[in-house]
Amino acid sequence: MNAMPEPSAGTLIEESEEQGSTKAPEHQEARTGRSPGQVAWSRLKKDKVAIVCFAIVLFFIIVAIFAPLLYSLESVDPLTGVKADPYATHTELIDFNGLPEVGASSAHWLGVEPRLGRDLFARWAIGARPSLIIGFVAAAASTIIGVTLGLVAGYLGGVADKIISWVIDFFLSLPILLLVLAIVPIMQKSLAGTGDLTADEISQIRFIVLIVILFVFGWMGLARLVRGEVKSLREREFVQAARAIGVPTRQILFREILPNLVGPIIVSASIAVPAYITYEATLSYLGAGLVEPTASWGRTIADAQNLFATYPLWLWPSVIGLSLLVLALSLLGDSIRDAFDPTSRR
């Protein structure tokens, strides 16, 4: 029978009965041969929105990395005789009411900052850095915490689960914005001690404090998600099979369960990045974010909020930069989720 020609493709023939038969079964092309991650990736590559968003994010990353190179393209200011620098103040370009006397020019593509006369383009370009660094670092850190605690709670169950779930509930009950606003200075103080630190050092400490606070208050969602997933995965038969085989618990967690969480974890992390960026900007607006002389979009928006009519060049580039980055990141997050879970497709 097997000698029969098989002109039709697409059917699986399985040599089930004749043990030891060396004839290879026919290929079956309907079931595509890729892991779920690969499937998601190939879907993502076909998603036009995702690609555009990725390009935007990439653009901002490049801006951030090459910011000094970018603003060095501005020409020398004829009045001050120096090249733009995000930190150098030029009050000579400012009138006695604090407003710039120069507008946008080849020396200052976006003009200069009211009151201080710092180059706005340089500050805008370098201002992409804090957003991106805070977004990604805090997301990475909260992902690690969330996944670890979620895994432990979900798999071990019992007391560990009770404790971790309680901590999650506890954190979720806190009025986070207010608490964060209150804790930022307290934490900065305990890190920095009192006095003895210069503005630059303080601004660096503040940066770290912000990242820490953001992820300390941001891991619960993922932990809950992972816990739930692990709880259901733990009952899945392949995990039972691994246990029946005698695979040690740690290997079950990391080799059997964790790979199945890659999807939700990536999705959650991709949603966390824009959320943290937004949060940083909000904190800066409320005065608990980054401090001078750090250039950040959130800070610029806070500074410029009242001059958006009088001096629009100050506010809007940062608003647009921030909104565009957040939008691109969250659309990208959506695309990633869709790629992992096509049933939620738009």
Binding site: W166, L178, K189, Y285, F308, S323, T343
Partner: protein, 328 residues
């Protein structure tokens, strides 16, 4: 069911207690020194500082301070002030370091404003969010759907306070289309009208996420087997969508809604600040600037209690929405 409620109640209490202890430790044992913040700049000498420290009760050991605070919460406590004992009834949140007034007065008098703002905003975002979300779900995949979802995403990406500022400035101040906030003392009408602008923008921006929740929930519900059953009965598509789809799709939304309202009760801070609404968020922010610990703590505690209670309410409410939970 009763087991469940009792367990939730115990959990809620433990969370509140933990919030209490941890905020107390963070704020009171933390490195900031409110006495110094209080001490008048040029006249601050050692005795003066000591007197202030003493009058704030900060000279006692931390444990004793906590016990005092704790006692105040449950049975009230007495404060010594200007040679007089002032009684502060339970739940006593202490006395403001700055205004020397009872924190209860400070916060509870403002809480209604926050509640009104949050509820008005909730009305806005629930109406817009649910209506648009259902619309998008039913028209799933069309250009309209994509526009709605895209717009909600754009709205979510713009920093909220920029939008709020624009609203506060143009329609309210410059064009005078919407009235400015005014306190209840200037009349009920002006009060609610004045809440309109902050509630609208807060609600409108929040509705972005509700559009997406509702849409996703509705889409998921519409793929359920029981919707197919409903269709097979020969009832109209509208009935299928509303009586069968909507009902089930709304129950997860109700959960989120409860939590969001709870979150709004302490999260309207930016809105309150920008529109000058005299709520507890704004008061908390002012307390932060003045390092007025009892007020900060009071605000945080009220926030936590509200969240915990809302959580509880939502859980219990959920069990009424979903008979499967109710009777298990």
């Amino acid at each position: 069911m009763l087991t469940y409620i009792l367990r939730r109640l115990a959990l809620a209490l433990s969370v509140i207690l933990a919030t209490l202890v941890s905020t107390f430790l963070i704020f009171f044992a933390g490195p900031s020194d409110p006495a110094r913040a209080m001490c008048p700049e040029t006249r601050c000498n050692a005795q003066r500082l000591e007197a202030i420290t003493k009058s704030l009760g900060l000279d006692k050991p931390l444990g004793a301070q906590f016990l005092d605070y704790f006692k105040g919460l449950f049975v009230g406590r007495d404060f010594l002030y200007a040679g007089d004992t002032v009684h502060c009834g339970a739940p006593c949140l202490g006395f403001s370091f700055v205004t020397r007034r009872s924190v209860n007065d400070e916060l509870f008098s403002r809480f209604p404003n926050t509640v009104v703002l949050a509820l008005m905003a909730a009305v806005v975002f629930v109406t817009i969010g649910v209506a648009v979300g259902i619309f998008a779900a039913v028209r799933r995949g069309t250009a309209l759907d994509r526009t709605v979802v895209g717009a909600s995403q754009v709205l979510g990406a713009i920093p909220y306070y920029v939008l709020a500022l624009l609203v506060a400035l143009y329609p309210v101040i410059l064009w005078n289309i919407l009235p400015q906030y005014s306190s209840l003392s200037s009349g009920v009408g002006p009060y609610f009208l004045g809440m309109l602008a902050p509630a609208l923008i807060l609600g409108f921006v929040t509705s972005a996420s509700y559009v997406r929740y509702t849409r996703n929930s509705m889409i998921e519900t519409l793929s359920m087997d029981y919707i197919r059953t409903a269709r097979s009965k020969g009832i109209s598509e509208r009935t299928v969508l509303l009586r069968h789809g909507f009902r089930a799709a709304m129950s997860p939304i109700a959960t989120i809604l409860g939590l969001d309202i709870a979150a709004l009760l302490t999260g309207t801070l930016i809105t309150e600040q920008i529109f000058g609404v005299d709520g507890i968020g704004r008061r908390g922010l002012a307390a932060l600037k003045a390092q007025d610990l009892p007020v900060i703590m009071g605000t945080v505690l009220i926030g936590a209690v509200v969240v915990v209670i809302m959580n509880l309410v939502v859980d219990i409410m959920y069990s009424f929405i979903d008979p499967r939970v109710r009777l298990s």
